[in-house]
């Protein structure tokens, strides 16, 4: 584990090599929060009530903070892996005594944590100014393990897509599809609570809601049951995707064609 910790730390340092670019990208959450605040304010006013399907304006905006933190701090793992396959730099990673998948997980986690912290401070700051403090501070405590689960699950799905580069020349179409599915069925733009029942029931049985919706929803309404249910949902999907990733990786290595060979 020591070596992966070292990789994690070095990637943190690497992330700070260009602080300007790093902070600049994180500022994106500010206009997002402002636009969504305006949209939901009008929606809540039009509905005439303080709540829509169990969410108030305040909890909806704080839900969006966590959902955006998860989305915007998501490192481009699929892209990194597929580029490493395409440009041949995968040769170095494979010729060192560490596991390829754990190597990428450690470095992607380092990228994620910095971005997540910055997005949380900036996005949370805006939400606090617009609608007041988060509904419950317990939510922050409950959401931390779920964020780890969300990142791990996102990593497995993204790495699976990245490994497809062993077979297809360009994985960007798959990355695009995953991102859009995460937007819609993960509940990034609209909480799943506002969806029609049929769409909600589809989203509930797919993995995307375990990445975005489950942690964000628990944050605004923490409960032990909700926490255990979200954790269970993540664990189940993690088992499926980590297993699939392991199998695909083993298969990939045997078909490996390093470019420029």
């Amino acid at each position: 584990m020591k070596k992966y910790w070292a990789i994690f730390k070095l990637q943190l340092a690497n992330g700070l090599a260009y602080p300007g670019e790093f902070i600049g990208r994180s500022l994106l959450i500010l206009p997002f929060m402002w636009i969504f605040f305006q949209l939901w304010r009008v929606t809540f006013e039009a509905s005439g009530g303080a709540e829509i399907n169990g969410l108030t304006l305040r909890s909806t905006l704080w839900y969006l903070v966590i959902a955006e933190v998860i989305e915007l701090s998501r490192p481009r793992v699929a892209n990194t892996i597929s580029e490493a396959v395409k440009d041949g730099s995968i040769a170095y990673i494979l010729s060192k005594p560490y596991n390829f998948l754990w190597y990428h997980y450690s470095s992607s986690l380092a990228d994620t944590i910095f971005r997540a912290l910055l997005n949380l401070v900036l996005g949370g700051g805006v939400a606090w100014l617009l609608v007041g403090p988060p509904p419950s501070l317990w939510g922050l405590l409950a959401v931390l393990p779920l964020l780890m689960g969300a990142w791990a699950l996102n990593y497995c799905i993204a790495a699976l897509i990245g490994l497809l580069a062993f077979w297809v020349e360009d994985t960007s179409a798959f990355q695009w599809i995953y991102q859009k599915l995460a937007f819609i069925l993960g509940g990034l733009l609209i909480p799943l609570d506002f969806y029609p029942a049929w769409l909600r029931s589809i989203a509930d049985v797919l993995p995307f809601s375990a990445v975005t919706y489950a942690p964000a929803r628990l944050f605004v309404e923490p409960s032990l049951n909700g926490f255990l249910a979200a954790l269970g949902q993540q664990a189940l999907w993690l088992l499926v995707f980590a297993g699939g990733l392991g199998l695909l990786y083993r298969r990939s290595v045997t078909v490996l064609t390093v470019n420029g060979g």
């Binding site: 070095l10 340092a13 041949g88 010729s95 596991n99 064609t257 390093v258 420029g260």
Partner: protein, 333 residues
């Protein structure tokens, strides 16, 4: 026991084939056609521990593919290999502790960070304790003359400086075998010399075996004891470098520039004139027939020398001559 034993190693790739133009693109979309490329076609050789072995050939000869199979990165289509007692593609991670690798065109140092950071990371990855890592870095920094470069972000180093750091990094964990894929590619003469000196020193002092691919005959002459020449995925020649030099690297090209104008029919005994210009002339000679000192004496006697360059023929030419001699041997039998 040999450090490397390779038996009938083969690697075949499938590459997608597409006709030119929009029509070709559409056709390939619905009915993709694949071509089979035989990158390595039944290579067998052995390498002794501590040996400096050159693995050379023109671009696309199958050198890098072979080296990648020997590190376990690529799985072969057929054949066997034993590297330091391990089967590379089945025991890649175990083997990784005992070998160092440098793939010339691909950096292993973290680009935006000082080289020292990657060195320290490698210490952790290869399970060295911190004190040992520090001692080893100090030793390598001196051997490769990179003391002043270690704290500079890698992106700000010149290619020659970076390559010295790359090779030094690959030796951090005291590997028994160093696999260098085109370590001198893109380097100027001075930088090439630096790298070659450092590799030779490390091999002598630590007994590390070096398998080096290159398409530069100079790497071979300066570094290797023995050479294997590959072409179209097959071994076309293997022998001691001294024998190769005696047999095939005897022709040199010399370019001179005089202070005075040179005659159009410029000719010197024992040399063949390839090209004449107003002040310059390009000649070729065979070191076995005309020694280099005689060449120099005749050139300086012919006028006032301003500049002179003596170079080896390109490797492609050497390989063509090896082919010719192999063919004439077959004819003679």
């Amino acid at each position: 026991m040999a450090a490397i034993t390779v038996r009938e190693l083969r690697k075949t790739f499938q590459t997608k084939h597409k006709a030119a133009g929009l029509r070709g693109s559409f056709r390939s979309l619905f009915r993709p056609q694949y071509a089979t490329v035989e990158a390595v076609r039944g290579i067998s050789f052995e390498m002794e521990p501590g040996e400096l072995l050159g693995f050379i050939g023109p671009n696309g000869a199958g050198k890098s593919t072979t080296i990648k199979m020997l590190t376990g990165i690529l799985h072969p289509t057929a054949g066997e290999a034993d590297v330091l007692g391990y089967c590379p593609w089945r025991e890649r991670q175990k083997l990784a502790h005992h070998i160092g690798t440098v793939f010339g065109q691909r950096p292993q140092l973290w680009y935006h960070l000082p080289a020292m950071d990657t060195f320290t990371l490698f210490g952790k990855i290869y399970d060295l304790d911190d004190a040992e890592t520090r001692r080893r870095i100090a030793f390598l920094a001196e051997a490769f003359e990179i003391q002043d470069l270690l704290d500079t972000p890698v992106r700000k180093l010149s290619l020659g400086q970076r390559m010295r750091c790359e090779v030094a990094a690959s030796l951090l964990h005291r590997p028994r075998l160093l696999l260098l894929d085109e370590p001198s590619i893109g380097l100027d003469v001075v930088a090439k010399q630096h790298i070659r000196d450092a590799i030779r020193t490390m091999s002598r002092e630590e007994g590390v075996g070096v398998l080096l691919t290159s398409h530069d005959a100079g790497d071979l002459e300066a570094l290797c004891h023995r050479v294997i020449i590959v072409h179209h995925g097959q071994i076309v020649y293997q022998d001691k470098v001294s024998n190769l030099k005696r047999k095939f690297l005897t022709r040199k090209t010399v370019e001179v520039r005089y202070a005075e104008e040179v005659a159009k029919d410029f000719h010197l005994e024992g040399m063949q004139t390839l090209k004449t210009g107003r002040y310059g002339v390009k000649l070729e000679f065979d070191t076995q027939r005309t020694p280099a000192d005689a060449v120099l004496a005749r050139l300086s006697a012919a006028g006032t020398l301003v500049d002179i360059t003596i170079s080896d023929p390109p490797l492609e030419e050497v390989i063509a001559r090896i082919y010719e001699s192999a063919a004439s041997e077959v004819d003679g039998q």
